[in-house]
């Protein structure tokens, strides 16, 4: 690769529980995301895709292996500067915004934490950036629709002008017409700010729309890495990926019959 990797993960392992209850949620995952790339992490529930993202973001500190972001090796505890570099957007905009804080306060908090100046201009700019405009600044989350809330959550992540955006199922709680708006917004923001994105989702079509490359996970392991072009042409090598592709094409009696569990 010409440019260095923005995110480099080597042999990542994350375990939950103790003794006989110990479960390896992520079992030896290695992957690398170049600067400016949009990378999809796909899998079914329990595949460990969100756990990988949470380990990268610093939300999960019980991991082993190597995580490097922007060339710096990360430890369990992250310095403040890390969060200026790397921000996350969560699935449920109904749960991820403080219900008794106005949009203004939600966006002002990260600015205050990082001791940045011009809070006023920054909030104004980021609200315009996510297509909301200044009239939304003094509203509460309950006065906003689901799509507007997700725009606020994206604005909160962008207000620090990070270089990496981690997205955990950012559109799966939204109606399809709103999903289209958020996907368009993310694509525009990525182009304008040169963002590196990691998108975790179970929806292959969303990955195809927003990403260049993807990795498929199953039961904590990385099954295969491929480009979105390969995905479009159904050029998967692993039977698990092919099954996932087939299940995403809508209901088909014969296909449903052929599905099996992959360990």
């Amino acid at each position: 690769m010409a440019n260095t990797a923005m995110i480099d993960i080597q042999d990542l392992r994350v375990a939950f529980g103790q003794g006989s209850d110990r479960v390896l949620a992520v079992d030896g995952v290695s992957l690398s995301v170049a600067e400016g790339e949009s990378f999809g992490l796909v899998g079914e529930s329990g595949s460990g895709k969100s756990t990988v993202l949470r380990a990268v973001s610093g939300l999960n500190d019980e991991w082993t292996g190597r995580i490097a972001v922007a060339g710096t090796d990360q430890t369990a505890r992250r310095p403040k500067g890390f969060f200026k570099l790397c921000q996350m957007v969560f699935q449920d905009p109904y749960g991820s915004l403080h219900p008794r804080h106005t949009v203004d306060r939600i966006l002002a908090e990260p600015i205050a934490i990082h001791g940045l100046r011009d809070a006023d201009t920054r909030i104004d700019r980021v609200l315009r950036d996510v297509g909301l405009g200044p009239s939304f600044r003094f509203r509460y989350p309950h006065q906003l629709s689901g799509g507007q809330r997700q725009r606020v959550a994206i604005a909160r992540a962008l207000v620090l002008e990070p270089r990496v955006l981690l997205l955990d199922e950012p559109t799966s709680a939204l109606d399809v017409s709103v999903q289209a708006e958020i996907l368009n917004l993310l694509r525009r923001l990525r182009a304008e700010h040169g963002l590196t994105m990691v998108l975790v989702t179970h929806n292959l079509a969303v990955v195809a729309n927003l990403c260049d490359r993807l990795a498929v996970m199953n039961r904590g392991r990385l099954v295969e890495e491929m480009t979105v072009d390969d995905l479009r042409h159904g050029a998967a090598r692993q039977p698990y990926t092919l099954q996932l592709l087939r299940a995403s094409q809508g209901y088909d009696r014969a296909a449903a019959e052929s599905f099996r569990d992959y360990a």
Binding site: E44, V176, N209, R232
Partner: protein, 290 residues
């Protein structure tokens, strides 16, 4: 009482309204359809009234909601004037309902086997042993591999996909003529979703059951159902055969279809749906009754 020649379900001008501080909100505004032994999909976004339509058939709209209709009949029997006792008999044995999330719909302190057996005993005079035998058969019918073992499990000990199959087993054991499925597979992984749908599909064709399938997923409904109603703001804006959804004509349906990201072709920006206020008032035109 039940009339065998009548359609399974007749709905005419169904309205559901909720009084609020700012006046009356109408969740369903004049929905009409008839259902035979077929799979009817009701599609719409959140707030379109699709779930309320499903619930009002079983008179399960929570107070202070009000349900009115020119006609709401199951096998020719009026559901709006049926006594509470009669409704309790119809719920389960005549019309059953599968909800979205097995986590909240199963009794957490009762083994799954007992719950299924109970559903059977409420609607028949069977003894405990007979009910258990039937419950085990039903678990097998929804393709649970080791029914004896699963029978004694509690809901928290089974996976989401298995929980949903258990729900389906419980709903189908009294042998209903009509199943209302409200987003029955939305909480499941895609492969499990397809397997659960295959079970519903088989049970429909083997038992001659009718089904109302409420979902937000256009592609899924188009591939699974026979006929589709598309709802917007409490009204049916279009109805068509499932196989002809791609040729839908109403701008709302078209907008929804276009806003779906696609796997097969590169797209760039997705067309965004612009809502026309006229959709709130114009008649249920656009489509041809399938």
């Amino acid at each position: 009482m039940a009339d065998d020649n009548a359609p399974l379900l007749e709905v005419a001008n169904l309205r559901v309204s909720f009084p609020t501080r700012n006046g009356v909100t109408e969740a369903v505004r004049g929905v009409s359809f008839t259902l035979g032994r077929e799979k009817l999909g009701i599609v719409g976004e959140s707030g379109s009234g699709k779930s309320m339509t499903g619930r009002s058939i079983l008179r399960l709209v929570p107070p202070p909601g009000r349900v009115t209709a020119d006609r709401l009949a199951f096998r020719g029997e009026d559901l709006l004037t049926a006594s509470p006792r009669r409704m309790r008999a119809i719920r389960g044995s005549g019309i059953a309902m599968v909800m979205q999330d097995p986590k909240y719909s199963l009794n957490p302190v009762m083994t799954v086997g007992h719950q299924i057996a109970e559903a059977y005993r409420v609607h028949s005079r069977a003894g405990a042993a007979e009910a258990k035998r039937r419950a085990l058969e039903m678990l097998e019918a929804v393709r649970i591999r080791d029914p004896e073992r699963v029978y004694d499990r509690y809901p928290h000990e089974v996976s989401g996909g298995m929980g949903q199959r258990i729900m389906i087993a419980m709903m189908l054991i009294p042998d209903p003529a009509l199943l209302i499925a409200d987003e029955p597979t939305s909480a499941l992984d895609v492969t499990v979703q397809m397997q659960v749908l295959a079970i519903l599909d088989d049970l429909c064709s083997q038992r001659g059951m009718g089904m109302v399938f409420v979902s937000h997923d256009l592609n899924l409904v188009a591939s699974f159902c026979d006929r589709i109603l598309i709802m917007y703001a409490g009204r049916v804006v279009e109805s068509c055969r499932a196989s002809e959804l791609h040729a839908a004509r109403h701008p709302y349906t078209r907008g929804l279809l276009d806003s779906l990201p696609r796997l097969d072709v590169p797209q760039g920006d997705l067309p965004v749906l612009t809502r026309d206020p006229a959709w709130l008032t114009d008649g249920a035109g656009g489509g041809v009754e399938g």
